[in-house]
């Protein structure tokens, strides 16, 4: 970035014409890419607002002749097999509860790992790191049996709780807590505050941004989680949206209006979050390397 500013400061740069050409080329590429990224999403939206007879008409209508709510009303009103509204509620509950659970458990553990000395700390730490490298599928079969033994099969608890055991939230927050200056805590300790008070009154208020980032990312990841819910939730009324969309597709096959309406419903909450918290999400992801 800085070196570019330097470029600009030199009006007699012999490459100036080249620079302009490069800028034009860059914009052309960027705008073409924007079309590539936006068009499919618009197609989903536009298809969801057409009567189904128009969805496969060519040349394609990017803007529906008239807005039709056929798709949305079909999935929101019908069917014991595809209760999309219920899936939406389930997803909302699961993702919110999951994010909250991660925030509480990860922040406490991260604080202990960042600031306290205790027997077994290194072992915990190494164990948490080591298990990050085991592919999730390895935990599948045993976790299915464990979840089953709790009576959680086919319930939202199965998608809320076990995924919160991943170590990524702990790492993310530990990294931040370590970067906080110790002086504040030490002053409070001298004033006779205990660890819990310090944690709630000093550490957490200083950590609003990373806590918000983590909550957002955990919400997104849980909202989008697909593999585990596909196999752990069976009954139509227990599903979350992602496995629900797969069901929707197999039940409605070529009723694209209905299928795309389901896609839009699953996209809207995360796209709204993304619009408002784009910076947090992108920076959170790029700092932590979090992958969904």
């Amino acid at each position: 970035m800085a070196q570019r500013t330097a470029d600009r400061a030199q009006p007699k740069d012999p490459q100036r014409g080249g620079r302009l050409a490069r800028l034009v080329l860059s914009y052309t590429v960027l705008i073409l890419l924007t079309v590539v990224f936006v068009a499919p999403l618009l197609w989903m939206l536009s298809t969801s607002l057409k009567p189904n007879v128009q969805t496969t008409r060519f040349p394609p209508d990017w803007i529906p002749d008239e807005i039709s709510w056929e798709g949305y009303s079909t999935i929101l009103t019908t069917s014991t097999q595809t209760p999309v509204f219920l899936w939406f509620v389930n997803s909302m509950i699961a993702a919110t509860a999951h994010a909250a659970l991660v925030l509480v458990t990860a922040s406490m553990a991260a604080y202990a790992l960042a600031r306290m000395d205790f027997r077994g700390k290194r072992i915990f730490f190494v164990a948490i790191i080591a298990t990050l490298f085991i592919p999730p599928i390895t935990f599948f079969t045993p976790n299915y049996l464990i979840v089953d033994s709790f009576g959680w099969l086919d319930t939202l608890l199965a998608v809320i709780v076990p995924p919160a055991a991943g170590g990524i939230g702990v790492f993310f927050l530990r990294q931040f807590f370590i970067s906080l200056p110790r002086e504040l805590e030490e002053a409070a300790l001298i004033d006779g505050a205990n660890r819990l008070q310090i944690f709630f009154r000093i550490i957490l208020p200083l950590s609003k941004a990373p806590l918000a980032t983590l909550a957002l990312l955990m919400f997104l990841i849980n909202w989008n989680d697909f593999l585990w819910p596909v196999y752990i939730l069976f009954s139509p009324e227990a599903q979350t949206l992602p496995p629900g969309l797969a069901t929707l597709q197999s039940s409605y096959t070529t009723n694209y209006t209905v299928i795309m309406a389901g896609g839009v419903i699953a996209s809207i909450p995360v796209l709204i979050l993304y619009m408002f918290a784009q910076r947090y999400i992108i920076e959170g992801v790029s700092r932590s390397g979090l992958k969904g």
């Binding site: 458990t105 600031r115 049996l145 796209l271």
Partner: protein, 318 residues
């Protein structure tokens, strides 16, 4: 901070020592740290540590969820996988092959294209944050949304893609989702579209972390644009590159949703990937012992790939 500590040394020894990291709150020997660790540790033990060991135990049994008896079979589940033409080995290795192919086809574009995009975005011009946000956007959607959307777009009869290919005078009846090699395009293309923004953002962070002074120095030395890229950007980006390659390989090797929704394994089971087959075997057919064994074989394969990749890229550095 450090100077403050030094200045205070004479006046307030205890505080000064704390600034130097000497006086730490004495949690050692108390119960407090364990209280803080406890909620997470319960989760970690129950859903990570226990399953990691329990999985091995399961893999040593003929563990059918629906049957009362779960006889010990030792390494049989593993040996079966390495016995040609046993019930499990053929479909398992076919699915491993599908995963390997998907990884092989998807990693190069996912490593190269985002780098080019990041290099473009790393210039100073109006709207760069807007473009960054647009390219990253698909990543916040789930694989289920991406899957149903692209299955529609790639539909051989009703899809947009074939229509526009036809409009350009190209073949307009390509069976993207039902036949090879098109099936791989149908899996890789949407995956690149979906996750490219993630890698681009990582690269971009890496590019911005390269010390600008190095570019200035190179300029003073008369290095041209390409030379600056070659000798400043490339070495500066190496750790980020290693990260991107590693995480992309792992993400691609864990592919599931695209195959499950877009190609649905077609044609035949040619694009049914390993994760899908293992999950199906364990949690639908309830052959949990063999599914567990397969998951460890997959984990081992991935570990080897990661190590090889790490060694390779590290080695180049020296």
């Amino acid at each position: 901070m450090a100077t403050q500590g030094v200045e205070r040394t004479g006046v307030q020894p205890p505080v000064a020592r704390s600034a130097g990291g000497g006086r730490k709150p004495t949690d050692a020997g108390t119960f407090t740290p364990y209280l803080f660790m406890a909620p997470y540790l319960v989760l970690f033990v129950v859903f990570v540590l226990v399953p990691a060991v329990f999985g091995i135990w399961i893999s040593l049994h003929n563990w059918d969820y629906l049957l009362p008896g779960k006889p010990w079979v030792g390494l049989e589940n593993y040996l079966d996988l390495f016995t040609p033409n046993s019930a499990n080995s053929t479909p398992f290795w076919n699915s491993m092959e599908a995963t390997a192919k998907f990884t092989l086809f998807s990693v190069p574009p996912l490593v190269v294209i985002p780098l080019l995009v990041a290099l473009i975005l790393n210039q100073s011009f109006r709207g760069r944050n807007f473009f960054r946000a647009v390219y990253f956007a698909p990543y916040v959607l789930g694989v289920a949304v991406i899957g149903i959307l692209w299955r529609f777009i790639l539909d051989p009869n009703n899809g947009l893609l074939n229509y526009y290919l036809g409009a350009l005078g190209l073949p307009d009846s390509i069976p993207w989702t039902t036949s090879l090699p098109w099936g791989w395009v149908a899996l890789v293309g949407p995956t690149v579209w979906w996750t490219m923004g993630f890698n681009a953002v990582i690269y971009l962070t890496g590019l911005q972390d390269v010390d600008p002074a190095l570019y200035d120095a190179a300029k003073v030395d008369g290095a041209n644009r390409w030379q600056r890229f070659r000798h400043v950007t490339v070495p500066g980006l190496r750790p980020v590159f290693l990260f991107v390659v590693t995480t992309t390989i792992l993400a691609s090797a864990n592919v599931f949703g695209q195959s499950y929704i877009i190609t649905q394994g077609a044609p035949g089971n040619e694009t049914r990937v390993a994760i899908w087959y293992i999950a199906q075997e364990g949690l639908r057919s309830f052959n949990m012992g063999s599914a567990a064994a397969m998951s460890y074989v997959l984990a081992l394969a991935l570990a080897l790939v990661s190590l090889a990749n790490f060694a390779l890229l590290r080695y180049k550095e020296d």
